[in-house]
Symmetry: C2
Subunit: 358 residues, 2 copies
Amino acid sequence: MKEDGKKEDSKITIYSIAKEAGVSPATVSRVMTGNAKVARDKRERVLSLIEKYNFTPSAVARGLSDTRSRIIGIIVADIRNTFYADLYVACELAAQREAYTLMMLNSFGDLEIEKKQLNKLIEWRAEAIIQLGGAVDDLVSKKDYVNLVNDIASEIPMVVTGKLDGTDCYRVQIDAKEAMDMLLEHLHENNNRRIALLGGRNDVESTNVKYNRFLERKDKYGFIADDIYLNNWGGYSVEDGIRSMDELFLKLKLSGDPLPDAVLCINDNNAVGVIHSIKKHGYRVPEDISVVSYDNIDLAKISDPAITSVDYDYDELGQTLINTVLDAIGKKEIERLTLLKPKGVVVRSSSDYKRSVI
Amino acid sequence: MKEDGKKEDSKITIYSIAKEAGVSPATVSRVMTGNAKVARDKRERVLSLIEKYNFTPSAVARGLSDTRSRIIGIIVADIRNTFYADLYVACELAAQREAYTLMMLNSFGDLEIEKKQLNKLIEWRAEAIIQLGGAVDDLVSKKDYVNLVNDIASEIPMVVTGKLDGTDCYRVQIDAKEAMDMLLEHLHENNNRRIALLGGRNDVESTNVKYNRFLERKDKYGFIADDIYLNNWGGYSVEDGIRSMDELFLKLKLSGDPLPDAVLCINDNNAVGVIHSIKKHGYRVPEDISVVSYDNIDLAKISDPAITSVDYDYDELGQTLINTVLDAIGKKEIERLTLLKPKGVVVRSSSDYKRSVI
DNA sequence: TTGAAAGCGCTAACAT
DNA sequence: ATGTTAGCGCTTTCAA
């Protein structure tokens, strides 16, 4: 049996601490928050009791009391997707630096779930909400969803990585145009002429931006990219990549058009699928066809061959997301849209091959 | 200008609802929680006001009031690791079914960070804490960490996926012995004789269990596995896999021992590295060397060649984790250790090759 | 069935 | 510098 079992176990709060230290609860609160001067001796006494009892003040009570939860809600399309996990971790790190706690929920790309998660965050009185992917990516947003978001955004700041037009969210994004330009430059340097564009969905903003940017710039580099080589739909997964490339092979066979020199994929997962298809059809990467993509997640490095991919500064992105949140909470005047430059293209074997100029 | 701007915006709580509905706050609370009968008409009036104002009760206030936060804390070694992300999602799904919210924090395998995160969860008065990987995996746990954990575990349930001995945590794990047996059976069926064991760390419980199980059973199958083929250290990453296999090639070259028929890797990442090394050395998978591993994360499927891996029922694992938490919260008598059977081995090309019996 | 009132554990005036 | 007190927004006895 423990000594003094009964007394010792009674719930410990700032009151019990205060009593034992012979001070007022307010004083205990003051030494905890550091929001006011406290006499050296009292502080020490309080501190040692806190230490003794291993006291941890209740964030719940504090949240109620000062009506600042210090929680930032964050809805992620799917944390199992490395891209989002990378982003999430960057946010968590940044948030912790500012003494905020993230409350993370998955939406699985399901609008109903997303609404439910938003609600949960409101219940917890999150001071702001960040959304990584999901409905916020769609180019044209559902009416009732927009309404919900606007309802929320009128109360607390919402910052999204997508478009979500019709709402007044803050937006933080990687500059997709710039990302496209980097890849085009790289492909051009290696004398690729005939370029295919695969993966993604037309109704997703970042994909759409890339697509348009490509069309805008292709002539500058003398790229050949007839419609048959362009397919910005089919999704973002490995399987989607396989399907898109299989389809391209088929179409090319029927039309008699030559293979592309390079395939520009919408992300690394997609590229893995594309490579898979290319190998399956008996061609080599990069000797026959180069493959490049975006995001530079771990997969790009460990794929075989390793994939050339546009890298982002995830830490910067996370920090910017959090900064935007904090500024918005603090009612500072800030830009509605922040565009971050991609870090650069990491050249790997999938495209590290200079074609001869014929 | 909005109509009635001032009044409309004043914070809406159960009080404002109560007043407008002409009932007491208690009644509003009752209709929200459903904890007591409320006259039909009053309920309807309250409900319609809730609807009208889009009222969402404060979980913070509720948490303070009934001292049940309905938060389950969860510390993950690294959410960017697909294995943990899979596990996490399974937990989130299970938790939501029970109307609990997960508060997820990463430990990055750093003991100091882990302690800080534990503390944060205590601040938020998590009703229980789940730990996926990290310090809980270590076979021999650090003294002060054990003390901290025991301090916490004496207050709220802790359930871990690792060993964490010296503590009274609940443990939920995949049966590593069984998982090993499945792979051995598979390798045997394909007439692999000479087996190498690569990856992992000796001081991690699940790895250790597998290693010992292998030694225990190898003779039954007539496997040849001299010390030179065994290397259960080197870690869990792709790079670790490359290093381990490179090293094995080197040692074999020096000793003149033949190549193994199959390499049994500690997880899928490791296997990717091993395959990388094998290819690099000019051998083929599976024709020259078969490769198998554990966890069956997405990577196993999209790797080239696709990797044979032991699959788990992640949903079941998540649900069991949450059930254990709930039972423990409810002070039910439950087993301290729950062992789950692996789902089975998913055979893919990396080992789908029958060797001829010489 | 319903309301009044106390209390959850903290913070922040306000007074001293 | 410190104590008193009044909330924060709920839930839950306890009476009625």
